[in-house]
Symmetry: C2
Subunit: 133 residues, 2 copies
Amino acid sequence: MPSPTDDPLAAAPVDPTDDAARIARAAAEIPDPDAALRLAETFQVLADPGRVRIILALHSAGELRVGALASVTGLSETACSHSLRLLRSARVVRFRKVGRSVYYALDDDHVRTLLEVARDHVLHRDPAAPELG
Amino acid sequence: MPSPTDDPLAAAPVDPTDDAARIARAAAEIPDPDAALRLAETFQVLADPGRVRIILALHSAGELRVGALASVTGLSETACSHSLRLLRSARVVRFRKVGRSVYYALDDDHVRTLLEVARDHVLHRDPAAPELG
DNA sequence: GGAACATCTGAACAACTATGAAGGTATCAG
DNA sequence: CTGATACCTTCATAGTTGTTCAGATGTTCC
């Protein structure tokens, strides 16, 4: 983890009584639009129940064929294929071909962490929510 | 962190040579559709460059008025207001009214963590990417 | 070779999302 | 009270997204 001074994502104390200072601080530290776009795109990939189910299935199984993924997640094979292409281009999953089958697996531990933290957020914001798994 | 046996989000070793066992495991452990939906909704909130910029600005400033948020993020005040309503209903931000101003601030440390992990993912998947902040 | 299988691709379409315009509410200054 | 300020809401719309259908690709078996 980088030090707070060179890492805009690290928290730092701010005097809550001085408006102008906070505005200046935020204006100086906010990343360029392109960086915000890339972060948003990362979340966009995970912003679909089908893709979340695919990721969770791969997380449990370690590796699955497209057909198996479809039956486990309840998605059609075509929908699975489209989603997997997106996950592939986002470097969330990797694949290997075996005969006419294609085995997919998670390619990034960050995604597992994102799901765990998101689950904690859901539980925090709605403690009465049904089991998340 | 819960133990692997009662936490589907925790990794566990699987014999990569047995297809049927992995399918059964995934089918048993995958959360119900509603849980996947809630997770996806959480990511959807963060899947917009404007909202990411709002969150990053609040992260740097600690607390900002709507007008200040608009100028810092480059969004219109209307767009800001729309986004803030969404962030509010997702319990990502909280607000307090002071006279005719409304001060917004982050309300959940999970969101900071999500942004940090997403940044790491972006850097991992594209090491040549421009500075993220 | 041909048939069956597993997956991918492209186009069409419905559903959703973000944004801006216009108008509304509440607060403060004079 | 009047006007200005700060923010919110409703509505309409252009753009995006996920799904399905039809067909294409590549593989295995006979």
